[in-house]
Subunit: 160 residues, 2 copies
DNA sequence: ATCCCTGCAAAGGGTTTGCAGACGC
DNA sequence: GCGTCTGCAAACCCTTTGCAGGGAT
């Protein structure tokens, strides 16, 4: 991660902790920096192992506690890709995007479509709500691989 | 539920089970009919209790096993509203819709926007996937209740 | 010095699994 | 009768909680 981003997210976390009158512990900043040192999605166990293999040693409980703070501070996004396992992703300066999940191999792809903003606006007006965030997931089959039988894991009824 | 729907979904399940060479057990049809006798979202525990209080007695294990079959058969939709608790909903003949979840009180509202189909089409073309289903959730605050302080559960940092 | 935060381990809650008996085929 | 499906309970996995010690304020 570049230095500029590092400073920015640390600044954001500092401001957040001060505003909420939470303590600025070294663990909190270590977790934030570990998260921003990697790309892609991760779950708590992966984050735990990544940090365990380094100079930082944090407990799972601390990770669970603080990931919530980071989500609330807007620095991390939580995903629930249909499994009972929360996945996370850094949020700062990353272009808003949504996900397509392969129903065969569970790989996750990203895409971006500005029209989701229009849907959001209409929905806000219709239901009289202010949307904080959204999650749009497409569950799909790779047509190419599927035809070639290269993504052969599960076969759904509707394929027959 | 009306008789027509009842017959249709039982027919669909029968065809599905025959196509997949699965047995047509009474539990499978009892579960299907129990689900179609109610509106709204439910989780496995609710379904279990509903059936326990009636003539049918099924185990949770059977519910977990068979809800998957019903989902695969296209008769039930699975939702994951951000919690580690799967929720379900009947799917036959119900207009496709998406959900807005109140981040204060967790109430779920439904809405319908055809533009999601256009996004889906574009995404399919761009990523070369065939979308089987999607899930779009807006997490939002009720502006009215929120201003009146009538939905006061959680306060996020970004409200400050 | 206060008391919030951490680490550890145990508990919790939803889901899955193993196995013996039941029943669809 | 064979082999799958069911019911029960235990196991499982991710997450939360309780508690004693440590560190931020």
């Amino acid at each position: 991660m570049n230095e500029e981003t590092r400073e920015a997210v640390n600044r954001i976390l500092t401001d957040y902790l001060e505003a909420k009158k939470h303590r600025k512990t070294s663990e909190r900043f270590a977790i934030l920096n570990e998260i921003y040192a990697h790309d892609g999605h991760f779950d708590i166990e992966q984050l735990y192992l990544m940090m365990k293999n380094k100079k930082y040693r944090v407990s799972r409980a601390t990770l669970y506690n603080n990931i919530e703070i980071l989500v609330d501070a807007g620095l991390v996004i939580r995903h629930q890709f249909g499994k009972n396992l929360a996945q996370f992703e850094k949020a700062y300066k990353y272009k808003q995007h949504d996900h397509l999940i392969c129903t065969d191999c569970e790989k996750v792809f990203e895409f971006c479509d500005p029209r989701i903003q229009q849907i959001q606006k209409s929905t806000e007006e219709m239901l009289k709500f202010k949307v904080i965030h959204h999650s749009l997931n497409f569950f799909a089959k790779c047509t190419e691989l599927h035809e070639k039988g290269m993504c052969p894991n599960k076969k759904n009824y509707h394929d027959i």
